[in-house]
């Protein structure tokens, strides 16, 4: 049986993120929190602080309007 | 060696366009340009072309633009009211450099005007009809043979300079029957079609705002926008001598008085000049074949000794104003109502001037 790879980390691109926080609001297990790092666009960047809660639903990646989110999987 | 045939101006235009490689026509019925659409509907499918009767002139010109972008030479034909509707499409083709031929068979205007009578009232609209600053090429055939040849010239100019070209004619020329010569394929030069091409492994980007050479929008940058627009304008302005054509006759003895006209009015002008010459008056004849860009340089150099120009035309005196800017003493003979100026009318005025 092929096991799905685990989520190692979730990268947020600081050039692209415009701070709409759809990822923060829509994550079903509240992995994201708004940090106090300011991105290139001028918005506070979200951060995947509670990565251990991630269930790999993929909603953050699907919903990001600026393609700033990359889910990095591995073993 | 080609063949001779008797046909209507509209049919000559259609046959010329097909000779030049036009294979897409979208139109809308409008008097007096409906025959062009009907001939196209009959003749285009026989050579593998596509005819579409669109839901309105706006759809017609946009479909032709789509066809031109996708790889086929395209043409649209209309008259005054439809020409007003097509102006945004003409601006689109100018800005995005899309080769296209637009035929305007002028009728009495403005608004619904005189649907079945000729005029030359759209000469300024052909030049300045769309919004914005731009240059455009406008050709005016004077007889049915020229309807054939200028259709090919219009297609060639549009491909060479990547611009829309307007073929401005009148109802009377479109409905006139004359014997013309049709060359064999290959006898008259035809240029190939140009389309936007993908670059560097990615598709082309055709933008309607002012754009740079890659297609990216530069509308918010004043310097780049000015550069982009001046390039489009100078594309035509720097090549006026290669684009513009005029027909000058009876000027061997450098007359001081010329009768200048274009389109169907030029036929009466030529008859008047011949009448005057037979009576011994020194008068020359000038016919504009290219209306815009206005061939100022060529006119000045061919009309060496001219001081007075008489301009008969079937509108309120538009081209007479343009001749005035060249510094000549201009006598405008505007004629409204839908009848061509007669040789006698022009003869009477000219004799008054020459005496």
């Amino acid at each position: 049986m092929r096991v799905k790879a685990k989520v190692l980390k979730i990268d947020i691109d600081k050039y692209l993120c415009k701070g709409c926080y759809i990822c923060v609001d829509k994550c079903p297990t509240k992995v994201f929190e708004i940090s106090d790092v300011i991105g290139d666009y001028g918005a506070f960047l979200p951060e995947a602080r509670h990565i251990e809660r991630c269930v790999d639903c993929g909603i953050c990646e699907l919903y990001c309007p600026d393609y700033a989110i990359t889910i990095v999987r591995g073993d | 060696m080609g063949r001779y045939s008797l046909m209507m101006g509209s049919e000559a235009l259609v046959r010329g366009a097909i000779y030049a490689g036009v294979r897409f026509y979208s139109g809308y019925p409008i008097t007096p340009a409906t025959e062009i659409a009907e001939y196209m509907a009959q003749l285009l499918p026989k050579v593998g072309g596509i005819f579409v009767q669109a839901e309105d002139e706006l759809a017609a010109i946009n479909m032709a633009i789509g066809a031109s972008v996708a790889g086929w030479k395209a043409m649209v034909a209309t008259s005054g009211p439809g020409f007003s509707l097509m102006q945004e499409g003409i601006g689109y083709a100018v800005n995005s450099e899309i080769p296209l031929v637009i035929v305007d068979v002028q009728r009495g205007g403005p608004s619904t005007g005189q649907p079945t009578l000729p005029s030359q009232q759209d000469v300024m609209q052909a030049r300045y009809g769309s919004h914005g600053s731009y240059e455009i090429i406008v050709l005016t055939p004077g007889n049915v043979q020229e309807m054939f040849y200028l259709a090919i010239d219009a297609v060639n100019l549009s491909e060479q300079y990547r611009t829309p070209v307007i073929l401005l004619t009148e109802e009377v020329t479109a409905h006139l029957w004359e014997k013309i010569y049709i060359p064999d394929p290959g006898e008259y030069p035809v240029l190939p079609h140009v389309t936007p091409t993908p670059q560097n492994g990615e598709g082309f980007l055709l933008e309607t705002q002012l754009h740079d050479e890659r297609g990216y929008n530069v509308a918010n940058d004043p310097e780049l926008s000015a550069k982009a627009l001046w390039r489009l304008i100078n594309k035509i302005r720097d090549n006026v001598d290669k684009i513009a054509k005029i027909d000058v006759r009876f000027n061997d003895d450098d007359p001081e008085v010329f009768i200048a006209s274009y389109g169907c009015s030029a036929r009466s002008a030529l008859a008047a000049v011949k009448m005057l010459r037979r009576e011994g008056y020194r008068v020359g004849y000038l016919r504009l074949i290219t209306l815009w860009p206005f061939p100022s340089q060529q006119i000045r150099s061919k009309l060496r000794n001219a001081s007075t120009i008489i301009v008969p035309e079937m509108n309120s005196g538009y081209m007479a104003e343009v001749f005035k800017t060249l510094g000549y003493n201009v006598i405008s003979l505007p004629k409204l109502g839908g009848e061509m100026p007669t040789p006698e009318e022009i003869y009477n005025v000219a004799r008054g001037v020459l005496e």
Binding site: L62 | V47, D56, A59, I65
Partner: protein, 278 residues
């Protein structure tokens, strides 16, 4: 940048020299992501050839959606995207033509072309991004704005009832009509895949969000995720299109009939043969 999306963008965007023009939380960016993912899935299944893809777009925020893509993009005038797409499809019937347009572009100034393109069944695929107003010009009323809504040109309430684009398309005889919201990712991607494989005219209406104007004026919330929740509240699945207090979503129609380019090309081939024999 997300590497899957980066593969499909033009160099200026893929190399991060330019950002998209969308506001934070705009639905257009999400829909572009769905489009790219749909094409990627179809290509991996071997069912789609994207070398002959033409994208025709209109004017406005929704018309700017596909600009970052690396395919052939033809921008048309306001409302005329369907006419340009018809011209392209007739001349290149083997090419795939996708039209991105907004609700004001396609249904207001482009309404006449909408009717006739569907009537002819031209094989173009339309992705209608419906944010219920004119976004780029600052939030004015559009044919799809709900009645009594406040917008910049209806400060006392919208006096006009809205138009249901899907119902109009179904009644004109469109062969594929579906409506989803931007929150329903899997359904949107599936619909785009079906649209690209469908033969004939196809319309996918995607209820999208404009947090800056639609959110603040019509709905009353400007947090983008809350607008997505609002859409989940006012929509319900049905097989009949309705657009009023509740908006129905789902796939309404999916069948096939002869397309315009098929009819025209078979006629041309028949006449060419007759002409050569005569």
């Amino acid at each position: 940048m997300n590497p899957l999306i980066q593969k499909y963008l033009r160099s200026e965007y893929a190399q991060k020299r330019r950002r998209t023009i969308f506001c934070p939380g705009c639905g257009n960016g999400i829909i572009l992501g769905y489009f790219i993912r749909a094409i990627d899935e179809l290509k991996r299944e071997g069912k789609f050839d994207d070398s002959k893809l033409y994208i025709v777009t209109g004017i406005g925020c929704s018309g700017n959606t596909p600009i970052p893509l690396k395919y052939n993009i033809v921008r048309a005038l306001h409302g005329r995207a369907l006419s340009v797409a018809t011209g392209i499809k007739l001349v290149r019937p083997d090419a795939e033509v996708v039209v991105f347009a907004g609700d004001g572009d396609l249904l207001s100034i482009g309404g006449n072309h909408f009717i006739h393109t569907i009537r002819r069944n031209v094989g173009v695929k339309v992705i209608l991004i419906n944010n219920m107003l004119y976004g780029m010009t600052g939030g004015q009323v559009a044919p799809t704005t709900p009645m009594n809504a406040i917008t910049h040109t209806t400060p006392y309430g919208n006096p006009e009832p809205p138009l249901d684009a899907c119902k109009l398309a179904v009644s004109l005889g469109a062969t594929y009509v579906a409506r989803w919201t931007v929150a329903l990712a899997k359904q949107c991607i599936q619909s785009i895949k079906e649209l690209l494989l469908h033969k004939g005219f196809g319309l996918l209406e995607c209820l999208s969000q404009c947090p800056v104007y639609q959110g603040r004026y019509i709905i009353g919330i400007d947090r983008p995720s809350k607008i997505m929740d609002y859409y989940l509240k006012i929509t319900e699945i049905s097989s009949e299109p309705r657009y009023g207090e509740k908006i129905t979503i789902g796939k309404f129609v999916d069948y096939e009939k002869p397309t315009y380019e098929e009819v025209i090309w078979s006629m041309i081939n028949r006449i060419k043969v007759m002409n050569n024999e005569g």
